[in-house]
């Protein structure tokens, strides 16, 4: 029995549901020695901005129990140099490259979206909204449905490619943010970005990370991400891409059953750059074992007993 691995996210068809996560595979090219990108569903590239960024001073990372904190500071070469220097080398691949982009104002988002939309090697754009809005006193875009609506709409208007919006877990009502993005024209939602976190070196009494606060990623985050994928995928009609702590096929299947149409692998690549292969093999074997003819048939297929209003403690 051959399992149909392809999944469809709106107008975009991925050859399988396993992608690389933004910030965890550079511009794709650095993965070449380890992975045949053409075997993957796709890869989300390091977050880009119009101006580029040299990133934060070190230390930028710290490992925690079951996870890690990073504050890279979105180091990137800028959209222009990306298009000139990196994109040409991506054009030969037969996989879906998704450019992740951000800004500090709506205008910066729109300009990045406009430039990247014109780049033929990209299958879609993924908007990172876990950034401070410097016009609104530094509130993070992603925590506020109204700001998410505004920035999504503004970008959608200047683009032709599919627009994915990547949600932050740090929102009181992530479903409201998801709905705002959908209403404003998002084509898919990526759930989730990292959770703001901190660690302290008690011997030196110093922050472990230059930026004090960084983003928590890895397996520690997965139960939060699964919950959000489940909540969001039931609340919107557009496809959801699951991300957060995927390291094994079982992890990926958890996301698919919860309602994600595809998954992205981030932190797990650091310990094992080839884990996407075993994830793919495992998903296929699972489908065979459980009689699913396609990955699509699996999506959202958790047996759901309906509303459960109990308390969390």
């Amino acid at each position: 029995m051959a399992v149909e691995m392809a999944v469809t996210l709106g107008s975009l068809r991925l050859k399988n549901p396993v992608m690389l996560a933004s910030g965890c595979c550079g511009y794709g090219l650095d993965m070449e020695s380890y992975l045949d990108l053409n075997r993957l569903g796709g890869a989300c590239l390091k977050g880009l901005s119009v101006a580029g960024s040299e990133g934060n001073p070190p230390p930028r990372i710290w490992e925690t129990q079951g996870g890690m904190i990073n504050a890279i500071g979105l180091q990137n070469v800028g959209t222009r140099r990306f298009i000139e220097e990196k994109a040409p080398r991506l054009r030969g691949y037969d996989t879906a490259f998704v450019a992740n982009f951000y800004g500090h104002t709506v205008e910066e988002y729109v300009e990045a979206a406009r430039q990247l939309d014109a780049e033929p090697c990209l299958a879609a754009l993924e908007m990172n909204i876990s950034c401070p809005n410097i016009q609104e006193g530094g509130i993070h875009f992603g925590t506020d449905p109204a700001m998410v609506h505004a920035v999504t709409k503004a970008c959608r208007e200047v683009m032709r490619k599919p627009l994915w919006v990547k949600l932050s877990p740090n929102a009181s009502d992530v479903v409201a943010v998801a709905r705002a993005a959908e209403e404003a024209g998002a084509d898919a939602l990526t759930c989730i970005n990292t959770m703001p976190a901190m660690a302290i070196d008690v011997e030196r009494r110093e922050f472990r990370i230059w930026n004090k606060i960084g983003g928590l990623s890895g397996p520690a985050l997965r139960p939060i991400a699964i919950r959000i994928v489940y909540q969001v995928s039931r609340a919107v009609k557009i496809p959801v891409v699951g991300i957060g702590g995927v390291a094994t096929a079982n992890d990926a299947i958890e996301f698919l059953l919860a309602g994600a149409k595809a998954v992205q692998v981030g932190t797990a690549l650091f310990a094992d750059p080839q884990c996407p292969y075993s994830i793919l093999d495992g998903i296929e074997a699972y489908c065979e074992r459980h009689g699913f003819l396609s990955v699509e048939a699996l999506i959202g297929q958790i047996k759901d007993p309906g509303p459960r209003p109990g308390c969390h403690e």
């Binding site: 550079g26 020695s33 990372i61 996870g67 890690m68 890279i72 890895g218 932190t267 650091f270 310990a271």
Partner: protein
Amino acid sequence: MGVGPYTVRSNVRRGPYATITVEGRVEPSKPGQFYMVRGDWGADPLLGRPLSILSDDPSQGVLRFLLKIFGEGSRRLHELEPGQKVHALGPLGRPFPRGAAERGGKPALVGGGVGVPPLVYLAEAFAREGRSFSFLQGARTKDDLVCLEELAALGVQPEVTTEDGSEGERGLVTAPLKRAIEMGAPVVYACGPEGMLKAVAALCRGRVPSYLSLEARMACGYGVCLGCVVPVVRDGVRSYERVCQEGPVFEGEVVEWP
């Protein structure tokens, strides 16, 4: 590039130090390169730990590291028992450049603590090629001297300095290094604690090219996370470079110290 399951062949412990030999498919490497090493455990610790190659033998599929307990990750590696599985990714990073060593004179190899292993590997390469060189090892105290057996096996007599005078010359490794430079060392290769590297860079600046192998916290070790950067200045332009990719070996002249 090896992304492999390896098996611990032996783990010889001496206090906080351990010489760990693993077996598996080993790709050819050069002195100064490293592996990301992780035990076959759960998600805590999550990431590999960068360890310099002490020696390897691709034909026999053997790889050796010298490890010192620092925190939790190295403590867990220190406890590995023969037969246990480990994951190792490598060889990674740029090796010590050899060009300057061609110029004649005796290159000076300067190591301290867990910075010694890559220099032992370099010494082995020089010895194999029949080049002469000087090997300086600095430590706080006698017990922190490492790889003495390996050096003896190579026929290398390290010049030892200890801060407390418990072995060799009392003081810092910069003293014999100064003499080595005065004696015409064409190039200095160094790896060790930040303070040592900084002093080596200062001493060499303007006199002799120095190549320093830096340490940085690493998540991936192969260039994708941008977690391991250090500020460098090249042609007056400051930027962040990745220790795992542009390094771990940098010219002393370009490194911007904290």
